[in-house]
């Protein structure tokens, strides 16, 4: 799956959980778009359902708020889809 397709599906998730930006700027940080804890909960549940993945518990202990949408797609979703493991995600963690 290409990054662009993943980004597009993430943008669709934002619409479902109530983020209605006219144009998603792919440099927007997640923390600017996802406003509070309840919104994060909605977001992650939608992500898991949309991509049929299950994040490991370790994933949820990492702060991804400073990722952009694009970075989140490349570094979080793609490795999980490709390798289906949390290790893949960790290898791509923002340093």
């Amino acid at each position: 799956m290409k990054t662009t397709e993943i980004v597009s599906r993430i943008e669709a998730i934002f619409e479902r959980i109530g983020v209605y930006l006219e144009d998603f700027d792919q440099s927007d940080l997640l923390e600017e778009i996802i406003l509070d804890s309840l919104a994060y909960i909605s977001f992650y549940i939608e992500i898991e359902n949309e991509f049929d993945v299950e994040f490991s518990d370790e994933f949820y202990e990492v702060d991804v708020s400073e990722y952009t949408i694009c970075e989140f797609a490349e570094k979080v979703i793609m490795p999980l889809i490709a390798e289906g493991t949390a290790t893949a995600f960790k290898n791509h963690l923002k340093q």
Binding site: S37, L38, Y40, I41, Y60, S65
Partner: protein, 595 residues
């Protein structure tokens, strides 16, 4: 020492007009300094005592009675006389019953003490409740038979027993002829006479009663003494909390006040809060948020469960149910902020020997309408909107006063109040049981909660309202915070600190102050600024930022000029001295030098 006299019944009242009536001798005691002696002549200038006693004497003329001339007015009790009379009886007289067809509306520790001593000697005390509908003493003490009249009770043998803990028994009180004097028939009505019918029935029974409960069972075999809600049994235990939301942040921030040992904070993994470090305001306590699915059940005794309705909806599962079941399987107690599932699980916990408590349990509702009057000064924080730091301000006031050795009582209206060491809790906000009620129920519940603190005889009691007082807009009934008015009538604060936001116009604030001061006898003596600029339309908060010092200074100037009041900044310790000064100025009498 005078030989101990014995009577069947002693009445404290205005006197008695006859030495001997219908074959009954009545000793009339009059006060001389701190002593009491039997008067040679019958005397009752007021007539109340004679009327009250006549019901007993006419009904049971073979008894031995005494009347202590304790007061000389029907509109004002002489508490000093009453206390003196009761102490004299305690030392030098024995009797089966003491009847007091009068009362005082404020709690009086000395009166309670002497009445309790007499009760513990086996004397049954019968007292009339206030005719104006207030709670009054001694009738409102739990060991006194409190009597009220009921217009539907028509004969001397008609009684209605109540287990509400407010009125113990109702009796006939309607207009009735109680005697005759030079001017003709004496017609009276009221609770004073209802009390006489209760006394008469007990005398006529010929039985002896060792306790109030046994006396009440004479009227109703199934009677059981009202048991007020006990204090939480979970205070002092090791506790973990879930989830991390607004009320839970308070438990972290104000850890100096915690009445539990906070061991761990848990949240749902999706919340983005895991591994966050939280620090209390005083910097002494640090917590790292952990995943509830990896809960260390061994490390704590009590799980504190916050509001979870929205969370359960988002997760698509009933997480509160899951956690309550895990508490049982892990042998843990639980404290819930709302009543969701409480009814279903309380028996399950009890059967397992575990404790399940809910903040709503402490909001006692009783339907008698009688209100307590308070002696302790009361300060209330109200606001012009929700999310305005009102709770922060209450904790700041509490801290400032306690640092200055003022004994503070606190009535918390948030569900976490007891966990923060507040004396009583009255949940009034989100998902509270009381939120579904209105009017008199809220007044009575608030009044009762405040009374339980009033009797602790602190220097001052603080409490706070919920949301805003005067609505900014009225497009929806949800904008009208109708519970605030009955709350105010229940607590009757002497002074108000009004929390406001920089966007509140002076005209709106003036209207708010007029509305509050117009409702009850109180004064808005200080304003507290919520120092954030918010973009909103009074319904939805869009964004907020801290006000600058210049903006705060501008607010101080505006409020002083337009309203003649000073302001403090909520949560700003630099204003602690000003906050303390304004509270003391308002609540204390000036000293001679200050005058």
């Amino acid at each position: 020492m005078q030989n101990c006299l014995h009577y069947d019944l002693i009445l404290l009242d205005s006197g008695y007009a006859f030495n001997n009536k219908n074959g009954s001798a009545v000793d009339i005691f009059i006060r001389e300094a701190d002593d009491w002696r039997i008067a040679e002549k019958a005397d009752d200038a007021v007539g109340h005592g004679t009327a009250v006693m006549s019901i007993i004497v006419n009904g049971h003329n073979c008894g031995k009675y005494a009347v202590f001339k304790a007061f000389t007015s029907t509109t004002q009790s002489n508490v000093d006389n009453v206390l003196s009379a009761l102490r004299f009886i305690n030392e030098k007289v024995s009797c089966k019953y003491i009847q007091m067809s009068f009362g005082v509306r404020g709690f009086n520790r000395e009166l309670e003490t002497i009445c309790r001593e007499l009760y513990e000697k086996g004397i049954i005390l019968i007292a009339a409740l206030d005719n104006c509908g207030a709670m009054s003493y001694p009738a409102s003490h739990d060991f006194v038979v409190g009597v009220s009249g009921d217009p539907f009770l028509k004969t001397k043998n008609d009684f209605a027993v109540s287990d509400s803990g407010v009125v113990d028994i109702y009796a006939k009180s309607a207009r009735q002829i109680v005697g005759k004097n030079a001017n003709g028939y004496v017609v009276e009505q009221g609770n004073s006479f209802a009390a006489s019918y209760v006394s008469l029935a007990l005398l006529e029974s010929g039985k002896s009663f060792a306790t109030k409960e046994s006396a009440m069972r004479f009227f109703s075999p199934g009677y059981s003494t009202f048991s007020p809600q006990e204090k939480s049994m979970l205070l002092g235990t090791k506790a973990a909390l879930f989830p991390l939301n607004k009320e839970m942040y308070s438990l972290v921030n104000y850890s100096e006040f915690l009445a539990i040992q906070l061991i761990a904070i848990y949240d749902i993994k999706y919340s983005s809060n895991l591994r966050r470090t939280l620090l209390s305001f005083d910097g002494r306590n640090e917590y790292v948020v952990k995943n509830i699915e990896k809960c260390d059940w061994v490390a704590f005794d009590t799980l504190i469960l916050g509001h979870m309705r929205e969370l359960s909806q988002l997760l698509g599962r009933d997480i509160k149910r899951e956690l309550l079941e895990k508490c049982i399987s892990n042998r843990k107690n639980a404290y819930c902020f709302d009543g969701n599932l409480y009814g279903e699980f309380s028996e399950k916990f009890r059967k397992e020997g575990l404790i399940l408590e809910c903040a709503d349990e402490y909001a006692s509702l009783y339907a008698e309408g009688r209100l307590y009057q308070f002696k302790t000064p009361i300060l209330c924080v109200l606001g012009t909107n929700k999310k305005q730091g009102k709770f922060t301000l209450q904790m700041q006031i509490r801290s400032v006063l306690q640092q200055n050795n003022v004994r503070v009582g606190v009535l918390g209206t948030e569900p976490n109040a007891l966990l923060l060491g507040c004396d009583e809790v009255l949940p009034l906000g989100y998902d509270s049981a009381l939120a579904g009620h209105f009017g008199s129920k809220i007044t009575e519940a608030a009044n009762y909660a405040m009374h339980k603190i009033d009797v602790l005889e602190r220097d001052i009691i603080i409490t706070g309202g919920q949301s805003g007082f005067l609505p900014h807009i009225t497009f929806n009934s949800g904008h009208i915070n109708a519970s605030q008015i009955p709350f105010l009538y229940g607590i009757m604060p002497d002074g108000i600190i009004l929390s406001f936001s920089e966007g509140d116009s002076s005209e709106y604030l003036r209207k708010s102050i007029r509305a509050i001061e117009g409702l009850i006898s109180t004064k808005v003596f200080l304003l507290a600024l919520y120092a954030f600029h918010t973009e909103k339309d009074y319904v939805i908060d869009v964004s907020k930022r801290l006000l600058t010092d210049k903006e705060i200074a501008s607010q101080r100037k505006r409020i002083k000029k337009d309203l003649g009041l000073e302001i403090v900044v909520s949560g700003d310790i630099r204003d602690n001295d000003l906050l303390f000064k304004k509270i003391i100025e308002f609540y204390c009498e000036p000293t001679e030098t200050e005058q």
